[in-house]
């Protein structure tokens, strides 16, 4: 009997050790590319290009960041994205939270039809061109509010929030609120909302992430330079100048000119790392604060609807 227990714990120990080693490997794979971007962004441009940066910064310098901040497009993009994220997320929450609450009510008449109404778009949609044409007809293309109104809702988030209401606000509370004479609106604001702040935090983060990182919608609906969000600016700097190094035409230059041109090209490359840090840092700093609610928010029923 005792031997059996010991043998079992030994097998368990081996399992645990292997599991931890495996997890450490996964951590390294997840983290190293991000860490590399960070150290490359503060390293000397030439050292990065020559492959002399691996574990720590080489030739520490803020030069890349200086170059990023000298770029007016980055400032405009940043400003627009902050505006789209703050106002857009608020609008998304306004669409999602009250409707999720309404759909969580057991006694709601017509609930079944409403659920179907909201579920159909999850699987069937008009697609790119019809949506574009409707947006154009409604004068929603290339306006300062385009990026706020377009792609503001998510059926999935609505369902997740609805399930959270159902499992975190006990039915008796609604009952007693009704007996106390509170109307439906008052019940929503004074009783239900304070009980679901974790899911509101999670939804705020989810919507903010999709707003901040959105590229597709701005590609389709916004072409005016003044309205371009950060991701569009990033794209034009990060992906279009990738040939800066190859563009250096060596045939018609003397040695100093070649050196100078190469240096500029290396700097353009190094600047990309700084740009990645500058654009990704806000979200990477924000999500750990909400992380503890992720798992709780994603109840099983959430997926099923």
């Amino acid at each position: 009997m005792k031997a059996a227990i010991i043998r079992r714990t030994r097998a368990d120990k081996v399992f645990d050790v292997l599991n931890v080693i495996f997890m450490v490997l996964i951590l390294l794979i997840a983290l190293y590319p991000l860490y590399f971007v960070l150290i490359a962004s503060v390293s000397d441009a030439y050292a990065v290009a020559k492959g002399q940066v691996f574990l720590w910064p080489n030739g520490f310098t803020w030069e890349s960041y200086m170059n990023v901040f000298k770029e007016p497009r980055v400032w405009t993009g940043y400003r627009n994205t902050i505006f789209y994220t703050v106002v857009g997320t608020t609008f998304s929450l306004f669409l999602t939270i009250p409707s999720a609450y309404g759909l969580s009510k057991k006694s709601l008449p017509g609930k079944h039809l409403l659920s179907i109404y909201f579920l159909i778009p999850m699987y069937f949609s008009g697609g790119l061109i019809p949506t574009y044409l409707v947006m154009k007809d409604l004068n929603l293309v290339n306006q300062w509010y385009s990026m706020i109104l377009i792609a503001a809702s998510s059926v999935y988030n609505m369902i997740v929030t609805r399930v959270y209401f159902q499992s975190n606000v006990p039915e008796e509370l609604y009952e007693s609120a009704r007996i106390d004479g509170a109307n439906e609106l008052k019940t929503f604001f004074a009783i239900a909302l304070p009980l679901v702040t974790p899911i509101i935090a999670v939804m705020t983060l989810f919507f903010a992430v999709s707003r901040w990182n959105d590229y597709f919608n701005s590609l389709i609906y916004v072409t005016k330079n003044d309205y371009l969000p950060l991701q569009m600016v990033l794209r034009s700097i990060l992906l279009n100048s990738q040939t800066a190094l190859q563009k250096v035409d060596t045939s018609s230059m003397d040695v100093d000119a070649i050196k100078n041109a190469a240096r500029l090209a290396y700097m353009a490359e190094a600047m990309k790392y700084a740009l990645i840090v500058v654009s990704s840092a806000p979200l990477l700093v924000a999500y750990p604060f909400v992380q503890k609610h992720f798992v709780k928010g994603m109840m099983v029923g959430a997926v099923k609807g």
Partner: protein
């Protein structure tokens, strides 16, 4: 005896409209979303009819000439048609093949003894999910660059030779799929960890008492308990079989890999928005959506028959 019957107030049968009016305040809360969905989802659905019309801007959606299946025939007789469908399906199935990785990761994270380490693993593996597609693609370009890229630097340091990952089309599917695994492996575990956290501890204790070791508990207790979630996720993934990530493919596309990277979504974008062939592009998009819905219905029906788990 009649007194013991609970006195149910006689509710006269009232019409749905009447009962909705009684709950107008709740409907007021739902109204913004209803209007939003009508404008942004249902109106475009009505616009799908231009797939069967010869859309002209001057005539609009409802008055353009009806041409029936013309644009569908045009697509299926296009020499590129099957290549594009094959590319789309290929990338999609390859992505689907990595579906079990998050499940395995979740099962292993669930076994970690130390709470702090568990939280750390979760936090760090979530991180890549929060990075935008534009940034992911530029990281791919930076790291895979033949002369300056990190991957080539490392492989050269280890004695390998430099490879032109970006200029060689055969690398494209692997880059596309494995960068997604890197980005979403951790994030994908959340749904399974949520299910695992609701497994009753008594079940584990009982299995332990019966002499089950860790692997046996995972196999006989944990896996069966997340199976319904797995099935649901699988059904939902099958409902997206022809929808591969537009952003990433579009951003990774270049003239060298176009042969394997042209997919339905990028093709409809090019043709429709850039080329102005609205009806043709809509027809292809509609075909795409219908295949997705069909797959969803078929897989859902199969799952309901064999496992009792289904979306509806």
């Amino acid at each position: 005896m009649t007194n013991s019957v609970p006195s149910v107030p006689v509710v006269p049968h009232r019409s749905l409209g009447r009962r909705i009016l009684d709950h107008w305040q709740i409907y007021l809360l739902i109204m913004p979303a209803m209007i939003y969905f009508f404008i942004f989802y249902y109106m475009p659905m009505a616009g799908l009819q231009i797939a069967f019309r010869d859309y002209r801007v001057t005539k609009g959606i409802w008055d353009s000439t009806w041409v029936g299946w013309k644009y569908f025939q045009k697509f299926f007789s296009h020499p590129q048609c099957w290549k594009i469908i094959r590319n789309t399906l290929g990338l999609s199935l390859y992505t689907l093949a990595t579906f079990p990785l998050s499940i395995i990761a979740a099962l292993l994270i669930n076994e970690l003894r130390s709470g702090v380490f568990k939280k750390t693993v979760q936090m760090i593996t979530y991180a890549p999910h929060f990075i935008s597609t534009v940034v992911i693609c530029s990281m791919i370009n930076l790291f895979m660059n033949q002369s300056t890229g990190l991957f080539n630097n490392i492989s050269e340091m280890l004695g390998g030779s430099r490879v032109d990952f970006l200029g060689n089309a055969s690398f494209f599917p692997h880059i596309y799929v494995w960068s997604s695994v890197w980005q979403d492996l951790g994030w994908g575990t959340i749904i399974y960890l949520a299910t695992l956290s609701s497994v009753s501890p008594e079940l584990h204790e009982a299995a332990y008492m019966d002499g089950a070791n860790r692997m046996q508990i995972i196999w006989h207790v944990n896996i069966p308990s997340i199976l319904p979630t797995v099935v649901i996720m699988l059904i939902m993934n099958c409902g997206r079989i022809l929808s591969v990530g537009f952003e990433k493919i579009y951003l990774l596309q270049n003239s060298l890999n176009l042969d394997v990277s042209q997919v339905i979504s990028t093709y409809t974008y090019e043709l429709g928005l850039l080329g102005g062939q609205y009806s043709y592009s809509t027809a292809i998009g509609l075909f795409n959506t219908i295949v997705n819905v069909l797959m969803l219905v078929i897989v859902n029906t199969i799952c309901r028959r064999i496992s009792d788990v289904s979306l509806w």
